[in-house]
């Protein structure tokens, strides 16, 4: 092996962002209640997922919060084997995009299904979850 070339190590910097969620808090607090909420524009009727405080179609800032079903169909999926820096402590995970019966799509981990049994078109349920680390999230589970 060739000798590594000389480098100068930069000063290290750890960045953490505090991301405001005041306008979408119903979604995050809903997860704790076991419910999946999203927004529907009162003016033009557009159902959005992820939820939005401001409608990109008609520009109204007056949405109503509606509860979504948990019935979904897998549109596509992948199994992530090589993990990014902040996910190194996890086992490889399957990410799926599911279409809910209301027509909106959700991207989340698909748990408890082996890769060889995961298929486009399979029916799954979408489950709100508070992880052991206290993260608020959604996951797809087999029916």
């Amino acid at each position: 092996m060739a000798t590594p070339l000389p480098t100068l190590r930069s000063r290290p910097l750890t960045l953490t962002y505090e991301i405001p969620i005041s306008k979408t808090n119903k979604f995050w607090s809903g997860i704790k209640e076991g419910k999946i909420y999203t927004t529907k524009c009162k003016k033009c009727g557009k159902l959005s997922f992820p939820p939005v405080a401001d409608c990109p179609v008609c520009l109204s800032s007056d949405p109503e919060w509606v509860e979504l079903s948990n019935e979904a169909e897998v549109e596509t999926f992948t199994h992530v084997a090589v993990l990014p820096a902040t996910f190194q402590k996890y086992e490889p995970y399957t990410i799926a995009i599911g279409k809910l019966k209301e027509g909106v799509r959700v991207l989340a981990w698909l748990k408890d299904v082996k890769l060889e049994n995961t298929k486009v078109g399979m029916k799954v349920k979408l489950q709100p979850k508070v992880t052991s680390e206290g993260m608020l999230t959604l996951e797809f589970l087999p029916i």
């Binding site: 997922f49 992820p50 596509t76 992948t78 992530v80 084997a81 090589v82 959700v106 486009v120």
Partner: protein, 390 residues
């Protein structure tokens, strides 16, 4: 449109690879100086600089000012363009518009990325965040291979595209990279190598993914009067340019079997150039992952939707086929220094149109002298298509 004609008059491309021997400015210099020499001018002749770089993985926050000073361009109008993996094309478009509008007579676009100063999991993290961090990365740790794997799964399910088809793209691009002196990889691979390789994000395996590469490329653009003044003997004209965008959330896309932004950009570029996909004789397509090249064939219109795999199976995108694509090795094997790629595509196509491809075996035979560059930013977040004509 009351735009002026604009020509590419000088191009340069650094060696792509793991470049621990150079810092950001030194890497840019390797592309900029040859571009000056190619055009027969210097930085003093260039009043506008657009630098394309996604950044975040190297130490400098203002890469444009560092590069401009290092390459003797200080004083010129200066902008840093970001369009993720299409940042180089965004810089090219910005420089083109500056000259086409008549605001300046000469401009340079520089694409630059230094990606290997951080470790592997960190670069995977930073690129994975290049979608919608809040909704798609924070809880789900999606990576860039995973974003394209979602498209591969959907394409395979809908059109019967196979993992062997994906491997064929990689085999082709490695073959041409081995003949390209600036390419990161200089070795051929087999379908078997590709199929046996470790899974990165199923169904994508190691050889379905572009490497993490350092590199730079530069393109000098000039008005028709300046082409004469500089005595440019083989100007390559910008015949058409299109750009468009896609949603940040992948879930809000219309489908996962193609990239709407790339399709819209291609339509616009063809309309502007007044040509059709059948007129194009050589193309660079955004093959950050093998599935992306197959989708690109379809999105550009080299074949019908769903027939991309057939094109690669039949060898139609090799030299001698219907439309040679990525005969520089593509992102897959030439390497994908994110912000450099768009300008590197213009470098390759300019050399092809001048019949100067290195090595000579990579030269595509030309009759109409029409070439197309297809450059995608993010997972179809940005789409840029450029048509060049000699």
């Amino acid at each position: 449109m009351s735009m002026r004609k604009v020509a590419v008059v000088g191009v340069g491309n650094s060696k792509f690879g793991s470049r621990q021997d150079v810092n950001l400015g030194e890497l840019a210099f390797e592309a900029v100086k040859p571009a000056y020499e190619d055009a027969g001018i210097t930085g003093k002749d260039i009043p506008f600089v657009a630098l394309g770089s996604a950044g975040g993985w190297y130490e400098e926050t203002l890469p444009a000012v560092v590069t401009a000073e290092y390459c003797g361009l200080t004083g010129a109008g200066l902008v840093h363009c970001e369009a993720a993996c299409a940042s180089g094309s965004a810089a090219f478009a910005t420089a083109y518009l500056d000259v086409a509008s008549g605001h300046n007579d000469v401009a340079i676009a520089i694409g630059l990325e230094k990606m290997r100063e951080v470790d592997g999991p960190t670069i995977l993290e930073l690129i994975g965040r290049a979608g919608y961090y809040f909704w798609e990365f924070h809880n789900f740790g999606i990576t860039f291979p995973a974003y394209y794997a979602l498209h591969a799964t959907a394409h395979m399910a809908k059109y019967g595209t196979t993992q062997e088809d994906l491997a064929l793209v990689s085999v082709k691009n490695h073959k041409y990279a081995a003949m390209n002196p600036v390419a990161h990889f200089q070795k051929e691979i087999t379908v078997e190598d590709a199929l046996k390789a470790a899974v990165i994000a199923w169904p994508l395996k190691l050889y379905d993914c572009c490497p993490i590469t350092d590199g730079a490329a530069a393109v000098i653009l000039a008005s028709e009067e300046k082409v004469k003044e500089f005595k440019i003997d083989t100007p390559v004209w910008v015949a058409g340019l299109g750009y468009a965008s896609g949603t940040a959330n992948l879930t809000n896309r219309e489908s996962f079997v193609g990239l709407t932004a790339a399709r819209a950009a291609a339509n616009r570029a063809f309309k502007e150039a007044g040509v059709t996909p059948d007129d194009i004789e050589v193309a660079t397509a955004h093959d950050c992952f093998t599935i992306a090249e197959i989708m690109a064939y379809e999105d550009i219109g080299f074949c019908k939707k769903g027939e991309g795999a057939k094109l690669i199976r039949e060898g139609q995108t090799e030299i001698g086929g219907k439309i040679p694509v990525n005969v520089d090795g593509g992102l897959k094997a030439k390497g994908h220094p994110i912000g450099a790629t768009g300008c590197s595509m213009i470098y390759e196509l300019t050399r092809q149109l001048r019949e100067q491809a290195q090595k000579r075996q990579r030269q595509v035979p030309l009759k109409k002298y029409l070439a197309l560059a297809h450059n995608v930013g993010g997972t179809g977040h940005y789409g840029y298509v450029t048509i060049l004509r000699r």
